[in-house]
Symmetry: C2
Subunit: 212 residues, 2 copies
């Protein structure tokens, strides 16, 4: 059985829209796969995963890249938990490798850093809300895997985010290696920050998620 954020059971292959700037939780049993698509393209998908039996064990980008020895998630990679156990396999990359594992999830303070005044939706709040909706208060916002996000580390260590060139209809598929709760956030970043575009120039858009 699996469910989406509304606590309703999803029908197999049902497609769920994660609206722009919002997040949703999905449960996968070991062996099931989740597909995340950016229909309009250039929309960052912040992706979190927790052991469904123990949400204290979460997907850790930092523990993954010291094992894959690459800061990019690549098709075929196993994504590890903070206890270095395989949680998901990156089954199919339909986005030509344009992904990131290094940008911390945006939060209210990130938007204020860039000069925003007042409340702003964020991937951190989306995560907290999606988890509360299914009964979990989490204490830590893990480093997400940011699919459809264009970053690079230059030779001097500079961390940059070039324009997002991910084509409409790009997708990724991940296979669960244990029972997991996944949270997908359609990153709300929409500030006109020079050199840090993250999403499309036309603003955040929806993601489409299915569990097979």
């Amino acid at each position: 059985m699996f469910w989406n954020c509304n606590r309703k059971h999803m029908k197999p292959m049902e497609k769920v829209t994660v609206p722009a700037k919002q997040g949703r939780a999905f449960r996968l049993n070991a062996g099931q796969s989740i597909t995340i698509e950016t229909p309009k393209g250039s929309q960052a998908a912040d992706f979190f995963a927790f052991n469904a039996e123990n949400v204290g064990e979460w997907l850790s980008a930092n523990h993954t890249w010291v094992t894959t020895f690459n800061v990019k998630p690549r098709q075929g990679d196993q994504l590890l938990s903070r206890f270095r156990r395989p949680m998901l396999e990156f089954e199919k990359d339909g986005a030509e490798g344009t992904h990131d594992m290094m940008i911390a999830a945006c939060d209210q303070f990130r938007y204020e850093f860039f000069g925003h005044e007042g409340h702003h939706p964020s991937c951190s709040e989306n995560l907290h809300l999606a988890m509360r909706r299914i009964g979990y208060q989490i204490d830590v916002v893990p480093q997400p895997v940011n699919f459809f996000t264009n970053t690079a580390v230059l030779e001097d260590g500079s961390f940059v985010s070039p324009p997002n060139t991910v084509a409409p209809g790009s997708f990724v598929t991940l296979k669960a290696l244990m029972d997991v709760i996944c949270v997908v956030s359609a990153c709300p970043f929409d500030l006109p920050v020079d050199g840090w575009p993250i999403n499309s120039d036309s603003g955040p858009s929806e993601l489409v998620v299915s569990v097979q």
Copy 2:
């Protein structure tokens, strides 16, 4: 007042040796500085910091590099907490920039990954022990700042660790911007892994720490 791991008050400028493969906690009031030295050179210093009034707020490398826009800690940088508040300033770099913020703290499972059998000391255990010694059970091993550690991200995203070339007597000094508990671990990594040397070929060595 400040103390080291033995709960004794340190005298100002007193130098404390962190033995090879071990860790120690140090308390700094805002405005105080901590200096960490590798007397023999090429010894990774895993560095963690917690808000002394709330150890649920910790130094986050991931939140730091999206603000400094560089994956290396550099002299003059402010190191941020996971709530994006400035915790420490990197006051003086006496190691020519050879530092890392991306290698997750080693733990028992990391040594097993590289084929080690039986227990192995690790920076994660050193952190847990140093914090317990002063009364704290922590739930999360944060991403450390790894001083005197040589890593690079190549153009294709490969994450590599070239030989450690940090000279004997190299040091770093960090100034506390809030009251903090710092933990310094003399990384126990000593496996002969091709392309992943971390410490000196001759094995882990001690670090010397002082609080001013």
